[in-house]
Symmetry: D2
Subunit: 332 residues, 4 copies
């Protein structure tokens, strides 16, 4: 039985609590949050108990710690949890500071504890099916990857200010997806950011739209398109041109109803945001993590994957600022 101590009781923590509850071999043993009220609410809803972070890390019964706290606590908590002999699933990003993340990975390596970073999209049934088709050779060799990743609406500017910027906060998922599909890291990263959505975000020093082009050792190319605003909902598509065809993972729609009138043929909108869109992914993520812990498979996403994605975000940030392509090597 996997006994989980959950650090954090916010929105993303609830999603993970649900995934744990749905897994037969896992149990949510305790929850900690600096806002004790939130922890109590979550504990109530999932038949768990409230504890402090310290208590969770000390509890010999708890063998897994799930970190769903603010980003600036991630690497510290990863280190403390692994030092305490726990396996860890930590939300992305590992840290906003690449040096710190790298140090954390080294510290963890010495403990030998398994640490997985929450790149949930790898577990989305649609992207997973695309990967499976790719690995089965159904479109030959992958040559040109396109990732479209638009949020429905920009986050509050207060959030933006502490987010590390769009590349570290939002694109980091897409960097990991690129690594997932292309099977290697790019050689060069060339990012173009823009401020077209929100004057407030621009004032906060961040971009809200971007196109990132990445080139690989053998000439292959990947493109990521990001925007903080898509009036029609969360737009999460992947498209991969291979030597023998094209694979596309299209948006999930709210329902299958199509309405034909004088106005045209109208389908439903994409599911609104990540909670709806990636609900199945969060469950499959936990299942895969639990399966790896029980020896069923290797960890599907490692801490190193988290550090790599962060390095790509750092490279992209630099490229967007200088207006020049950047070699990823310098950041790895």
């Amino acid at each position: 039985m996997i006994k989980v101590g959950l650090l954090g009781a916010g929105r993303i923590a609830i999603v993970h609590a649900r995934a744990i509850a749905a897994h037969a071999g896992s149990e949510l043993t305790a929850v900690a949050d600096v806002f004790v009220e939130n922890a109590e609410k979550l504990a109530d809803a999932f038949n768990s108990t409230v504890a402090t972070t310290e208590e969770i890390l000390m509890d010999p019964d708890i063998n897994v710690v799930l970190i769903a706290t603010p980003t600036d606590t991630h690497s510290d908590l990863i280190e403390r949890a692994t030092a305490a002999g726990k396996a860890v699933l930590c939300e992305k990003p590992v840290d906003l500071n690449l040096e710190r993340a790298r140090a954390c990975a080294q510290t963890v390596a010495e403990t030998g504890q398994p640490v997985m970073v929450g790149f949930n999209r790898r577990f989305d049934p649609n992207f997973a099916a695309l990967k499976q088709a790719l690995d089965a050779g159904e479109v030959g060799k992958p040559e040109l990857l396109s990732i479209t990743s638009f949020d429905p609406a920009p986050p509050p500017t207060s959030y933006v200010k502490t987010s590390g910027g769009m590349f570290r906060d939002m694109t980091i998922h897409d960097f990991d997806m690129a690594n997932f599909f292309m099977g290697e890291t790019p050689v060069m990263i060339s990012a173009h950011g823009a401020s077209v959505v929100s004057a407030e975000i621009a004032a906060a020093g961040d971009v809200d739209m971007a196109v990132i082009t990445m080139t690989y050792a053998d000439g292959r190319i990947a493109v990521i398109k990001n925007s903080r605003r898509a009036a029609y909902g969360y737009d999460q598509r992947v498209e991969l041109l291979g030597s023998k065809g094209l694979l596309q993972a299209q948006n999930m729609l709210e329902n299958t109803v199509v309405k034909s009138t004088e106005a045209g043929v109208v389908g439903a909108r994409p599911t609104y945001f990540f909670l709806e869109r990636y609900m199945a992914a969060f469950r499959a993520e936990w299942d895969a993590f639990a399966n790896a812990l029980s020896g069923g498979a290797a960890l599907p996403v490692t801490l190193a994957d988290g550090v790599t994605a962060l390095a790509m975000a750092e490279a992209a940030t630099q490229s967007a600022q200088t207006g020049l392509p950047v070699k990823l090597d310098a950041f790895l």
Copy 2:
């Protein structure tokens, strides 16, 4: 060279004139219409000449007559043209009176002249592709056919009054499509008509919506759904369940643009009506007719096919009126 005398200069005649013009081996030699002005206009537009029906039938240069006149003249003109040694392509239906149509077919048979009835939908690239997939065994044995055939808007009541009723005027196309796809005629026809679209059509004694179910000797079933009104445009779909899968021919849309907004994901409407929807079909129809005349193939649609479809319309009319299923045999 196929030299065509065109009888009629209305809307459908223009469509045929275009098909003839686009065919390298055909020439529109003369046009006749009781409204001479129309004939002149058409002749002008297609570099042809105006003539009387009599002149066309007498002209030894003209070897093909295309009949696009009002329905009540069809069987007479077919008989006269074939008697004059012409091959004939005649618009549907052959006649509103089944007896008359049958007599016409017999008369024609004695001349040995080729007569094709204008069931253009068989030549629609989409339906033709469906038929080809079916014949290639891609979904196994056909078991359940569904035809959806909705007009965008009801015709003028004046037209309805002389149309022979919806089954003879509109459904006749769908009866022929059923024969085309199922490869045989049904044993029983059961029709349910309704007046829900137009009070005027009801007052004229006709239905404006109908569902016709047809059963075949080996148990297979076909369903036709008709309506005189589809607010979103011309709805022309075919769906065929076979032992190994399903074939669908979907609507053609005005364009491929999809617009995603808060209102949903909006595609274009179906092409508005038969001129747009079946433009390619009319061309392919003429090409197939010309090819058959030049010995390249058997006639793809025969006068007998026209009589059979009319018999089915008559059976359906009787079924809708009595509320009882009807054996087709009695009408063949």
Copy 3:
């Protein structure tokens, strides 16, 4: 708190147990099954206990009984449970015998206990969205309803033999859907059944494909198409032509991946069968039932709805056997 006694521990019972577990205000108190092993397995999986039917009906703590036993026990159990003061959610059909079902409804009425019949499809998010659009007048007045309902593969012949025939077993869902969308019962039912899928089913005296046409007092029409075999998966579509447009609920697909190769543009198959397709519907069904019990709304499906659908199945059975349309009145 809703405390549920579950009668039956088979496949459909598990689905309901999941829905109960996912509902915050419900608790699975006990499970009974003649195969005690199954009951134990289910109780284990859902932290419940095993009991006999008798014990469940006597338990004053249990206020709701969910009946997921074989059909021939339904009406007896409904009567016993309501007599014991329990609210009931019973799987469809109420009974195979219309008289018995009617008697059951009368008995229940005297107890005043709420009884809901498990027409889960009304709660499918897609069909519910279609209904909502219809009620909002988005396509005007509904005129022509089409229901496509194909199972992926025929059930075992042993099942067919005790199923009451395809109309009572399978089409009964579609009859209820027709009532749901059209808002009233039809006047006439005309059913055509066929045996094209399985010789064994034919030998067992049942049909395996059918088209049922229903006409309404004001001329509107509904068509149901059924087959026991769809090689591509569970085909569950609804299409409704209204005076101002068309509403369609299309199939749910296994994923959103589209693969374009020389072979064409290939999308995923429909979700395989009812467990996958209607998982969300079963949950929403329980939520709606629980909400009604707690006074939040009227029962969304009544026992009377179950009896009506059964009457339609009986009428369709007679129509298919006689080859003649049947007035529904005689069965209500």
Copy 4:
């Protein structure tokens, strides 16, 4: 009446001849080609006559010259035809040499003759509908444009060698499309080319896959994706994210048939190549040109547009070679 002298009798010339034949107010007066046989064939097929280039330019009856010869003759012929007082429609590109193209434009300007460059895609009904929706403000302000433009298979290497490279030969269409949709030229162009499709093309010094990112004065971005190979056919899509939604022009498919089997839900392939895909566009292009000549509207595409697109191709070529972004200004 527009009397056209057609220079060139190859594949693209035939397409134009068809468009001219379909236009009521235009006549194909004469055809010239260095391969006289080709000219004769074309003249035969379209009831025209064969002439030399010289004769066409001297013929006072001919008021329009359509240039469909090899690229290296374009600017000379444009200058000679306009000097002879003819209006000109010239295939793209204007020249492979930007200086030469610019000089040509200047020479032409002095004659005052109208010269249109054959950017046929602007006239594609799908792209035109997208533009119309954009101009109507249906998705607000355009922010992020994506053009996917894949050929089905690479051209012969002999063709590649004289093509001026992929950016001048193939992407030039996409550059013009970007100008068409964004309504202005970009400030910076950043191109990444790759050789992944064909070793022969690489040996010839050209790329066969590319991603080009363009940024605009106000921060907006456009991305073009090119490949010389798409195993599933010609892939020609446009996608435009605006402040209020997304517009997409999707591929045209060979037909509307969908086949559902155990293998999935299979639609038809995209129309194979430009002759099929842009047939309607070539006709609409001629209609628009003819309409402009008769004073009905301004020229929809100018020689200056051709020069601008060529400048963008030159900038992209330099960017791909240096690996650095390039300011377009230096090329305009």
